[in-house]
Symmetry: C2
Subunit: 353 residues, 2 copies
């Protein structure tokens, strides 16, 4: 109060950025982690949320464990080379359930539709979801539709929640990596994120970059069958990319990681798009790739297991788990140097999934 006016501050006190949600809070990086830590965990935290996996494991009697995972999809544009929001909504959630070691069985879908959305777009999205669910072996068991006014939902948003059963003998978890373990990826990185960015930025290349959106359930089933619980950890590096996925495992397991840049597969067109936009492929979202941390004596078998499937045909060993620098991921670069691959503070690419 200045005394000049009596009906409020003479000069409005500006709200600082720390008082409002920012795009970076949706990045999957450090800002996301802080939002969860400061604004959700204190009020909602319990033993389940504390698991911090891609989903939660619930007791389900003698027959195994029930795994549940939820995800909302807000990708822009709704349709892109290689897929659409419906493909992501099914693959994203069944893959999260699979990364917990479970077999996805059921999925629910909540649609928020914007007034004016062309029904043929909705039909294509729903058809894609139906096909993706069939291919993944899940049944869509419950749904909900809401409609909001023009301009309030950018076409449509979709939430899916997946349920699966886990065999107690197969428990990959981010806290189970240990020094000596081998780090594998099932396929080339950065395709999904760069497919979206190429559309948004109007980039064109000799070939169109297509999203890698795919179901990873058969890959996980093969790993379970061939090497079982010698799989220490599984993650699909979506938001925040490979860098964030490995950082989370390194921190949960209190181990270091060393990646070999020369071994990391990035398709030339996605690499070129990253270069143009100044992005690092290790941070770009994938929607059809998994990273597996496996015991060293089973690394070759894991590689062979993944290569039995088209989606894992280009699987590679990309690094190893070490005792040094626990909690940090280090990259041995092409030119022979090393650099720390930290989690991003905020946003690299908004609305990628």
């Amino acid at each position: 109060m200045t005394g000049v006016r009596f009906d409020g501050p003479a000069c409005p006190v500006p709200l600082t950025d720390t008082e409002r949600v920012q795009l970076g809070h949706g990045s999957g990086g450090k800002m996301s982690a802080r939002l969860i830590r400061d604004h959700f965990v204190p009020l909602l935290g319990n033993e389940y949320l504390a698991q911090q996996g891609d989903g939660a494991v619930l007791p389900a009697g003698e027959r195994g464990e029930l795994v549940v995972s939820t995800d909302s999809f807000v990708v822009s544009p709704l349709e892109f080379p290689g897929g659409n929001i419906g493909a992501l909504a099914v693959h994203g959630t069944v893959n999260d359930v699979a990364m917990m070691g479970a077999t996805p069985l059921f999925i629910t879908a909540g649609f928020i539709l914007e007034e004016g959305l062309p029904l043929d777009v909705l039909d294509r999205v729903v058809a894609t979801m139906a096909a993706a669910a069939r291919a993944a072996g899940v049944q869509m068991v419950a749904g909900d539709t809401k409609v909001v006014e023009r301009g309030k939902a950018d076409g449509m948003y979709i939430n899916t929640t997946g349920l699966g059963m886990r065999d107690p003998g197969f428990r990959p978890g981010p806290e189970r990596a240990r020094p000596g373990d081998v780090i594998l990826v099932s396929g080339p990185l950065a395709r999904h994120g760069m497919a979206i960015m190429a559309v948004r930025e109007g980039l064109s290349f000799e070939t169109t970059i297509t999203s890698d959106t795919a179901c990873l359930v058969p890959l996980v089933a093969q790993l379970r069958q061939d090497i079982g619980d010698h799989v220490a950890a599984l993650r699909d590096p979506t938001r925040g990319g490979m860098a964030s996925a490995l950082n989370e495992i390194a921190q949960a397991s209190k181990v270091g990681m060393e990646l070999d840049e020369s071994a990391i597969p990035v398709p030339p067109d996605a690499y070129a798009a990253c270069e143009m936009l100044g992005l690092d492929p290790l941070y770009v979202a994938n929607e059809g790739v998994l990273t597996a941390i496996v015991r060293p004596e089973h690394a070759d078998a894991a590689l062979a297991a993944m290569r039995k499937h088209a989606v894992g045909a280009e699987a590679r060993i990309v690094g190893r788990v070490v005792a040094e620098h626990p909690g940090y991921v280090v990259l041995k670069t092409l030119v022979g140097g090393t650099r720390i691959v930290d989690m991003l503070p905020g946003d690299q690419l908004p609305r990628i999934c």
Copy 2:
């Protein structure tokens, strides 16, 4: 083509309304039903979605049945007298699970946040969700947060998915009503919808109309304990109100229904607001009321069971199931006439939940 131009129609063909999503598609009335029937069921339909209940019943071994329900919440404004979007997001979903006869155990939450949302609003919403989940006896087991740009999510949207277990000995279902059954409501109608509309329209009354948002789990537990499977059907009349809930049961059970207008409880302030806005309280959303269809010899016990709880203190018998006019709900009006209470074609009140 007119022949005047060769690069397309001389006069652009306008898209008709039937080619785009309209607000009425979110109403819970006939347009919603048509959207589901024409654009979701043909592609996604299976034995679970065919159940058409408030959720789906899944096999879960010998220990009972797993019930799952999903719902997205897009209410505007986010905070209103009597609650906020977080209260609705928990109550809406646990109530849907309870209406299937199950005990809700777990809930997931997917947040879509708009850039610029004040974090103190988020904190109040999350605190309300935490308290509501505790009171309902459910644990929040998985969550997800996405952020979209300013102007793209009207503050925030929340999806919740609820899981519960159902005792095979208690199976209320919309197809189980039969002539002679008695129709009860657990409390006064139209409070939630009119609380929202009073805020939006700037209506003021002697007292503030408050939402009835409440957890109905204890009421269902009491009904199960006191009269068990003599409860034929349960519904919480949210979107589309009591009229839509009863029409759905009448159609699923192929029975008629007779309501007695003089017995239907509507608080004076909500009634006055309905009169002002030209709305029928039977179509206005409730968020803390259930309607139960019970066998006639157990109607008094059902009434007594509901009245044991504060949220059911004003429970009433409001009508009966009849063999005549199957699929139709008929109201005996205050002046002694009768009128058909049909489902609304489209929208009465958008974005009420």
